[in-house]
Amino acid sequence: MLKLNDVTIKFGGLTAVNQVSAEIAKGSIFGLIGPNGAGKTTLFNIISGVYAPTSGSVIFNGKEIQGTAPYKINQLGISRTYQNINLFKKMSVLENVKVGCHSISNAGLFDAILRTKNQKKEEKLIEEKSLEILEFMDLKDKAYYKASNLSYGEQRRLEISRALASDPQLILLDEPAAGMNGREKEELSETIRKINERGITVLLVEHDMKLVMNVTDIICVLNYGKKIALGEPAYIQSHPDVIEAYLGGDLND
């Protein structure tokens, strides 16, 4: 579904991502791990169109998409969440998800002002869909809260809800467990599996090893912008380079 071919990006003298190649199979849960500053989020930003790679290509469904504007990437079917929560704070929870429906709806200015039949129908669909997603993410009873009044874990869940609203084929989750407590993390693994069961491919960047090992099918490990290992969780856990570079010791603590 998504293929990275020798993706490289340089910021001045720093090579943040260095010739990374990987393929994410349709319907899989793909983990991307690495120490701080390994280039995980940068790679995310390349896939979601925030940065254009210096060289290499990103192929989504057989089409080169590197350097495409972020809003177009979303329309193609890749949506994302943000590491540092980027919600629309003054909007309600429901409205945040409704904004997420932007790509899959198309009422324009005049439809809105004239309240055309199509616009009303579309608004109704957006509302139903958004509420359905909030129910799925267990946020429905908070639908009319201001986004900024949610707890940290709930805000993370809202980020995922908003990303789901555009019916993505691929969802990029950037450290969704950051700041969550143990129970919330467990619920999150469950949620990620449920999202995957909806037929959505998941690309997950995460620091929490237990979660990553638990939930992913394939893991790619980055260090200093370079891919050092790629494989199933069990293989990664025993890979000497990974242990040396990142984990620094036994995983099964």
Binding site: F88, M91, E95, V99, S103, G108, S166
Partner: protein, 333 residues
């Protein structure tokens, strides 16, 4: 389940209370309007309130909802006024059409400005809009042959629709009132739509908005277009109502007045611009004898907003509503 029912009952009671409040307010406003309409001068003030309310609503869509600041809105006001005036006076096109053309030309300039402006934020955007305001002001001041320069243009014809000529301030008022209501209705619909949500999302977080599939630049330009259209429309109305225009009405100070009205009335709210326009027009008229201190007074208003009323006058109502709701909740508990 029970708590949901209680909540629903609360909201129903709240809406009933709100409706009662709304009816009483409307009644008082209509009484004031009816009184003011008896006098020509007072009717003119009502007309000014309407015109400013249209222009400031336009500014609100740009600044309040998409977060793009403009300190040069007098430019669109001028373009609307001068276009409509010149087309009706020199070309002889019926006034009804010239008003629309004036608003459309203002919109066109809004779009042109929006192309560079949509890439700028904060002080860079402020400077660009100030510069544009100055450019238009200079243009209408120096093109003597076209605009008669500082002497201004007199004898601007009245609006005529289907053979009815608007000749009194009272008749203009009813037209303007209808347009204000239409603008407010349109604004309400716009804000609660896919486009409106895109606007607010851009204001709240442009990066996340782009990540959600919103073409940020396109919607920023659209906001500029709507904003310039409304302000241009207001400018055209102003010209035909007063019958005289000169560059003095379209200075930088006018842009600041629009901004003060918006901030004072309440930013990103439906009736905030109208309330702000009403209060500031009335105060300006009362202070007529202190014209030279006008900007000082506006500055005080802005300071008042910055320190005590971050959400404008509308914010006061919201606060009262919250206090009442809290009291009510205590009673229910």
């Amino acid at each position: 389940m029970e708590s949901i029912n209680v909540n629903r009952r609360k909201t129903i009671i709240n809406t009933i209370k709100e409706k009662r409040f709304l009816i009483i307010t409307l009644f008082i406003i209509s009484a004031i309007i009816a009184y003011m309409l008896r006098e020509r001068y007072l009717a003119l003030i009502l007309c000014f309130i309407c015109i400013n309310s249209i222009a400031v609503s336009g500014l609100d869509i740009l600044f309040g909802y998409t977060g793009q600041v403009s300190f040069g809105h007098a430019a669109y006001y001028a373009i609307g006024a001068y276009t409509s005036t010149l087309l009706s006076l020199k070309v002889g096109i019926p006034v009804f059409f010239t008003i629309i053309l004036g608003a459309l030309l203002a919109m066109l300039f809004g779009i042109i400005i929006a192309f560079p402006a949509s890439k700028l934020v904060k002080h860079f955007l402020s400077l660009l809009t100030i510069a544009f305001g100055q450019m238009v002001y200079m243009f209408i001041s120096v093109t003597d042959k076209l605009t008669n320069g500082f002497s201004g243009i007199i004898g601007i014809p009245n609006l005529k629709i289907f053979g009815y000529t608007f000749s009194s301030n009272q008749s203009y008022f009813f037209l303007f009132l209808a347009i204000v209501l239409l603008v407010l209705l349109g604004k309400k619909r716009l804000i609660n739509s896919r486009v409106g949500r895109a606007f607010i999302a851009i204001r709240e977080n442009p990066h996340a908005a782009a990540g959600m599939g919103i073409n940020v630049r396109y919607y920023k330009i659209m906001a500029f277009a709507i904003s310039a259209f409304l302000t241009g429309l207001a400018g055209a109305f102003y010209a035909h109502l007063v019958g005289f225009i000169s560059p003095d009405s379209f200075t930088n100070a006018q842009s600041n007045i629009f901004m003060t009205m918006l901030l004072f009335g309440g930013i990103a709210s439906l009736v905030g611009p109208t309330i702000g326009a009403a209060i500031l027009v009335v105060i300006t008229e009362i202070m007529q004898s202190f014209v030279s201190y006008q900007m000082l007074i506006y500055a005080l208003f802005i300071l008042a907003v910055l320190f005590y009323l971050p959400n404008g006058v509308v914010g006061i109502f919201d606060n009262i509503k919250q206090i009442v709701a809290r009291r009510f909740r205590k009673k229910v508990d």
